[in-house]
């Protein structure tokens, strides 16, 4: 029987990348991602992982080097956060548009200014439309499991897309938890060899990254959109297979005590664990509240969200990012528009909170739920409210 070992999530990510025998890691340090790449550098330096560790001079080059590596068929990994993810921005689109499977762990971090090294989801939301598959995680074990899954999903010949695994900066990246690492025999069973179908190869010359005139650009984008949407089936298949081998299952939307709930809270990432405590307490008091944890962010799980939320009266969505001057948080506006076509749907109330590392306690979640119920009844002056902000 394999035993759980107490270790920092960042270190555990490195251990997974070692176990999948990655070929290339190109990364640039940024808090709170540093422990991941430091551990990988160490594994390579000690000969425990036979990979090229490319200590690039920027995140732009990190992702660019990953493009090159993936284009010759290498199993490729990187990690970043916050400003680093922003500096990669234009390269992210290229990775997905050119169908290059790259796995990236993002230790979610707030964006400057003011400078903040602490966690929120501003960085993730800024890269929402880059065409990557995006998975949110809530604890160290989920991170480990989903980094492993990310390689299988992205490299699947039906998918061939880059995958981001989001984990909250510090709250998750720096936590020490009991973690079950995948055994080499399990990895061998679960993860096939990366066989990129058309790599750069002098014996079979291909032209990659052409110039697309108007007569062809729309078709290229349609193909990309169809492909990303279709990837959901492969994600589900991967999680099913994962459950079979590792006895732990994942779903695009995780439902917690939500079956008969009149009021639902929806959150993403590590905050979900705290929110569960609040839900338990309120359930204990006889209140019909439940929690939806949105795990698969791209491709967006429309059906699953509708199914999970349609019976509720109120759905309160907590975003950890602001769409400035817009309808509220990006997650709330997407969830709201996903539910809009339904004849019977809950009122959707948006909150923003947990910005730049600001914690939300179980009491805080209780307060959000109570205030959400109140807004659903009486309305609010604002499009959305920022929780816990000092005026």
């Amino acid at each position: 029987m394999v035993k759980k070992v107490g270790m920092e999530t960042s270190v555990a990510i490195g251990e997974v990348v070692k176990r999948v025998n990655a070929d290339v890691i190109a990364a640039y340090p940024i808090t709170p991602q540093t422990h991941i790449v430091e551990h990988l550098a160490e594994l390579v330096a000690e000969g425990e992982l036979d990979a090229a560790f490319i200590p690039v001079e920027s995140e732009h080059s990190a992702m660019s080097a990953c493009l090159g590596a993936a284009a010759v068929g290498a199993r490729t990994f990187t990690a970043s956060a916050g400003q680093g993810l922003e500096l990669m921005h234009e390269v992210l689109y290229v990775a997905s548009s050119m169908r290059l499977p790259i796995v990236m762990a993002v230790t979610n971090r707030a964006l400057s200014a003011p400078l903040s090294v602490w966690g929120d989801h501003s960085d993730a939301m800024a890269v929402r439309d880059t065409g990557w598959i995006q998975i949110f995680t809530e604890n160290g074990q989920e991170v480990v499991d989903n980094v492993l899954c990310a390689f299988r999903i992205g490299e699947d010949p039906r998918v061939l897309l880059p995958v981001m695994v989001h984990l909250d900066g510090f709250h998750l990246s720096h936590m020490i938890e009991p973690i079950l690492l995948p055994e080499p025999s399990q990895v061998a069973k679960f993860l096939p060899e990366n066989k990129y179908p058309l790599p750069l190869d002098p014996s079979r010359p291909v032209t990659m990254g052409d110039f697309g005139p108007p007569v062809i650009y729309s078709e290229a984008k349609k193909a990309q959109e169809v492909n990303l949407r279709a990837a959901k089936e492969v994600v589900l298949e991967c999680w099913n297979e994962f459950a079979r081998i590792f006895k732990h299952s994942y779903h695009p939307v995780e439902c917690y005590r939500s079956e008969d709930a009149k009021v639902l809270l929806l959150a993403m990432g590590s905050f979900c664990e705290t929110a569960m405590v609040a839900v338990d307490k309120m359930r204990g008091e006889g209140k019909a509240v439940g929690l939806l944890r949105l795990r698969l962010w791209r491709p967006f799980p429309f059906e699953e969200i509708r199914k999970a939320a349609q019976a509720a009266e109120v759905l309160i969505v907590l975003d950890r990012a602001i769409s400035f001057g817009g309808p509220g948080g990006p997650v709330c506006s997407e969830v709201r528009s996903a539910l809009y076509p339904l004849d019977k749907r809950p009122k959707v109330i948006g909150f923003v909170g947990g910005l730049g590392g600001r914690d939300i306690t179980p009491d805080g979640f209780e307060a959000i739920i109570s205030r959400g119920i109140e807004i659903a009844k009486k309305g609010s002056k604002e499009e959305f409210e920022i929780f816990g902000v000092r005026e």
């Binding site: 690039v56 732009h60 090159g68 284009a71 390269v91 790599p199």
Partner: protein
């Protein structure tokens, strides 16, 4: 080196302008790069003229991603091929990697990525095709545009003589990275160019080749003067042909007597507005720089 390489890896039928020195330089370079190559191309004229969907001019594996990241993409490819070969995966044979970019993609927006790749010592050849401006976007100045040249963002006018700064010395910047091989070339000297490409490819570690490429559109010159103007750039000392091998400089074409710079300038509309005084200033600067280069040969 073979006297003449018949194979064309950069196929005819691309969309470059008539008399394009850059397309000629790429074609010659490709002959010397051969078939066992992966080419990484920056955004710019050469990428645009060669890769419009659904056609391609490339008979060798070729990848374009962005404007400023060419050296970084090349470093990823090089590192990946090496490690995978060691693991018995991927390509069995050793494959060469070349990065190609314009002067803007090299000396401006791509300088950081290039510096990083050279400093890390990746085994690749970087070719800068220097047509002395951002031609693809319509002749805007770059840091490689020569002093006094008219471009659309350094226009000559009542209060402007055109480009206000002296050309950035990109080969010197490459050499400062102490990489094993740096050289300059020009397609007006095709054998010299191909020899240097072959040499740069063979050398272990980063090699940098800076290739002056006449652009009749941007330089406002006759399309049948491409070769002549390239020769004059060399013969006037404006663009000396030299190599730096492990820090040792050698001139490939030493000229006892430089031709007057005016002969080079007067064939190009981009310098048309320059007064005799400014031309004298340029002449002086060229002589000084040439003398400094010769000192390096001696040292």
């Amino acid at each position: 080196m073979a006297e003449y390489i018949e194979e064309e890896y950069f196929a005819p039928g691309h969309r470059a302008c008539i008399g394009c020195g850059e397309a000629l330089a790429v074609r010659l370079a490709c002959k010397a790069l051969g078939q066992n190559i992966i080419i990484v191309n920056a955004t710019g004229c050469m990428e645009i003229v060669s890769s419009q969907l659904p056609y391609t001019s490339w008979r060798v594996p070729w990848i374009h991603t962005l404007f400023e990241n060419t050296a970084a993409v090349a470093s990823g490819i090089e590192a990946a091929l090496k490690v995978m070969r060691g693991k018995g995966r991927g390509l069995a044979q050793e494959v060469n990697v070349a990065a190609i970019a314009g002067d803007g993609g090299t000396s401006d927006i791509g300088l950081q990525a290039l510096s990083g790749a050279m400093e890390r010592g990746h085994d690749f050849l970087y070719l800068c095709f220097d047509n002395e401006a951002y031609m693809n976007t319509g002749i805007q100045r770059s840091s490689s545009t020569p002093f006094g040249a008219h471009t659309t963002t350094s226009p000559a006018g009542r209060k402007s003589i055109g480009q206000f700064s002296w050309k950035k010395d990109m080969p010197a910047i490459a050499a400062a990275h102490k990489i094993p091989y740096v050289a300059t070339a020009c397609p007006s000297y095709p054998k010299d160019l191909m020899r240097k490409v072959e040499k740069g490819l063979k050398i272990r570690g980063p090699a940098y080749l800076h290739i002056l490429s006449v652009c009749p559109i941007g330089w406002r010159c006759a399309t049948d003067l491409t070769i002549k103007i390239g020769r004059l750039a060399v013969q006037t000392g404006v663009f000396p042909l030299y190599e730096v091998e492990n820090g040792k400089y050698s001139l490939n074409l030493d000229l006892p007597q430089l031709k007057p710079v005016a002969e080079y300038l007067k064939l190009q509309g981009r310098f048309r507005h320059l007064s005799d005084e400014v031309i004298k200033e340029i002449q002086q600067r060229v002589e000084e720089e040439y003398a400094k280069l010769k000192e390096k040969m001696a040292g």
